[in-house]
Symmetry: C2
């Protein structure tokens, strides 16, 4: 495996580590930073490779196209979030709305998870390829799992409308920073939003 990627690097006289989890992780960390700072369109595989101190060919070898690098970077950043639906779905269905609302605001209130989330949102809003990655990963993986817990014929639409309330709140509070929402007490927001999310998911 390593032989397929390293020769290019060696040809250019650049010293790279052998294929290892370390190098992959480093590339992904750098990729996440680059996508966060520049957005999808302005980020290049070349730039990621340069910042990670490896050859572009190695980035392509590990991850494929820029779109695939982006998807991998998102997946790593969202590993906790992508595993969350089980935690959200666990427990009684009649307060799943509050659990989901607390989970989503928890991710946004935490600066470590907010930064990559902002990057994904920005990229998805600006670029069709990034939007497709967003759809596939976040939407399908998160929302389909929540929908699968619901006993309703329009479960997926319900999950999406619940998510729309949460995404809209995040947009207004963390991105547009609209007052009074941006400075409102979290419990006050949860008290107003959780019943709406619950209503979308399990209401009549």
């Amino acid at each position: 495996m390593t032989g397929a990627a390293d020769p290019t690097a060696r040809r250019r006289g650049r010293r790279t580590r052998t294929e290892s989890a370390d190098t992959r992780d480093r590339i992904l960390t750098v990729a996440r930073e680059e996508f966060s700072e520049r957005g999808y369109e302005k980020t290049s595989v070349r730039g990621i490779a340069k910042a990670a101190g490896v050859d572009s060919a190695l980035v392509h070898h590990y991850f494929g196209t820029k779109e695939q690098v982006f998807a991998s970077a998102i997946e790593v950043a969202f590993a906790p979030a992508l595993n969350a639906p089980e935690a959200v779905a666990e427990g009684p269905l009649d307060d799943v709305g509050e659990r989901l609302t607390r989970f989503v605001f928890g991710v946004w209130e935490n600066p470590t998870t907010r930064t990559p989330l902002l990057a994904i949102l920005r990229s998805a809003v600006n670029n069709e390829t990034a939007a497709a990655v967003f759809r596939r990963l976040i939407a399908s993986q998160l929302l389909r799992r929540i929908a699968s817990q619901l006993d309703a014929p329009d479960a997926e639409l319900r999950a999406e409308l619940a998510a729309a309330q949460l995404v809209g709140c995040a947009m207004m509070r963390y991105v547009i920073k609209l007052e009074p929402l941006a400075s409102a007490d979290m419990e006050q927001i949860i008290a107003r939003v959780a019943p709406v999310v619950q209503g979308h998911l399990t209401g009549p």
Copy 2:
């Protein structure tokens, strides 16, 4: 007045019309197109001037900084929307949720108004200056007016949470294009969303 702007254009040997509503309108139309296509950051006053066939100085003379050109372009694009809160607020308060929901989806379903709206959303998500313009124009003008109709101490927060549901739906349906929401029947969406918007605005 005209004398203040034209000399620059004349100095560079470029023929421009005298200061007139026509020229201003043309610059604004071009500005809207440029901001729509490129987003706030990649759009320059120079590029707008070039596309409008006038000198940059004339654009600055009429509108000021790039931020001010952006604000003016939004204001023109949203003149109908900015005048809508009265229409939305007219009529009984107990179906203001449905009127607001139908109004917002009406704007998004119409390609003529969707394009500048997308441009504003994209710019606001990506750029702090554009976000500030968004806050001031759309948010303050639209939401404050709706809030002023409500008889509640937290009227502004209510209006913002209602708007968050609508903005989130627009994001998921028109920008991210998440299925089944993206293809769902409009009346089905309105039937689910309008009561939520109503609840935010006038609920307990």
